[in-house]
């Protein structure tokens, strides 16, 4: 069961990486990166929780929470900066 969850998580990561490499635009790539990678991380953590003991489970949840916070914030910041650059580029036309 744990291996199944880890495999699903790995496939989400793979899909996210393919999206980052193949999508045409920064904003599209952000979609692929954050959504797929966060889902992948959730599955990987779920798979590892089945194998871990109690302190390990707490550590895994902490890692998952911090990773969600960090990736969400950096996704927002990148998106904001991209929008600003586009607006500046349009204004200067």
């Amino acid at each position: 069961m744990s291996a199944v969850l880890l495999g699903i998580g790995a496939s989400f990561f793979f899909a996210g990486t393919v999206g980052v490499l193949r999508f045409p635009d920064t904003l599209c790539r952000l979609h692929a990166l954050t959504k797929a990678d966060n889902l992948g991380l959730g599955f990987v953590v779920a798979g590892l929780v089945l194998r871990a003991d109690a302190p390990g489970t707490a550590e895994l949840f902490l890692i998952w929470t911090l990773s969600l916070l960090a990736s969400g914030t950096s996704c927002y910041l990148i998106a904001r900066r991209t929008l600003e650059e586009r607006t500046d580029a349009r204004r200067s036309l």
Partner: protein, 312 residues
């Protein structure tokens, strides 16, 4: 066998990342690849059963150094494009690099069979570990057996911090303004994240310092996390470092060096060898020195990052 395959993949990724980090002219891309390289290197260290080094590599090598490089890349973008050196020079330098790499590989292959059987210094450290005051051998070596080296490393950090402050002409930390001078305004999301994460990073750093006595951790790793907490507090955009005054900083930055100085004078005056721990108090004194070192490392890393920020 699976582990061998994993190690092989890791090693080849390291080489590939190192090559590609040097390849691009776009500095931002090169820095991002360097940060990824640092994280993979931390993985490699943990595969080599060196968790202390892995912690330090992840925090300092990938984290703080990556942040400093990103700042430098942003400032260098406005500098002039440099020309590539001529073909002859490039050939000579790559030949030299290949010769050095071949020499090192041959030397490693030569000593590898012997080193796989010898235990290195593990036996000798293990014999003296009971008197060292801590149960983690790495911390014992850093803070007790080779404490003079650690003292000098702290001095080097102090010199680096002072040179950075002089170089950036920022003796006044209160001139630091918001961390996003090019964007349209303050970043509330980043400020909220930094508000949440700074105390977490402070707590984790303190925990690592205290855990160094019995497990992977110690002054450098905890200090690196404290430095990360300082960087986070700068990213809140209010131009203040943990809400402290500048005078307080420069004095906490010297705490490590001064603590070692006081300790060496103390042991000298009492009649023991310099920097020799008295047997009963070894654990407590070592912990005190570790705390002082971690504080000064954290402050130094934060100031190194802060001095590179544009002011005004």
């Amino acid at each position: 066998m699976l582990e061998g395959a994993f190690d092989l993949v890791l090693a080849s990724f390291l080489v590939a990342l190192g090559r590609s980090a040097l390849q691009f002219e776009d500095l931002f891309r090169a820095v991002v690849l360097y940060i990824a390289y640092g994280l993979l290197m931390a993985l490699a260290w943990s595969r080599l059963s060196a968790p202390d080094v892995a912690l330090a590599e992840a925090a300092i090598g990938a984290g703080v150094t990556g942040a400093l490089f990103l700042d430098a890349a942003r400032d260098l973008k406005r500098a002039a494009k440099e020309r590539k050196p001529r073909v002859g020079w490039r050939f000579a330098i790559s030949l030299l690099g290949a010769v050095v790499a071949a020499g090192i590989s041959l030397a490693l292959i030569g000593i590898l069979p012997e080193s796989a059987e010898s235990e290195g210094l593990t036996a000798r450290v293990g014999q003296s570990l009971s008197e060292a005051g801590v149960s983690q051998p790495v911390t014992a070596v850093i803070m007790n057996f080779r404490s003079f080296d650690t003292w000098l490393e702290l001095l080097v950090l102090l010199v680096a911090m002072s040179s950075s402050l002089v170089f950036h002409r920022t003796f006044r930390l209160h001139t630091l303004r918001s961390s996003w001078p090019h964007s349209s305004g303050p970043e509330p999301v980043l400020a909220a994240l930094a508000n949440v994460l700074t105390p977490c990073a402070l707590a984790a750093g303190a925990y690592l310092v205290f855990r160094g006595s019995s497990g992977p951790g110690g002054a450098f790793q905890g200090g690196a996390l404290l430095g990360a907490a300082g960087v986070l507090s700068l990213l809140r955009g209010r131009g203040e470092l943990f809400r402290l005054r500048q005078r307080f900083f420069l004095s906490t930055a010297v705490a490590g060096v001064v603590a070692f100085l006081v300790f060496s004078l103390g042991t000298g005056l009492v009649g023991r060898a310099v920097l020799e721990y008295p047997p009963g108090l070894a654990g407590t004194l070592l912990l005190a020195l570790e705390v002082a070192s971690a504080v000064s490392i954290g402050v130094t890393l934060s100031v190194l990052f802060a001095a590179a920020r544009p002011s005004g």
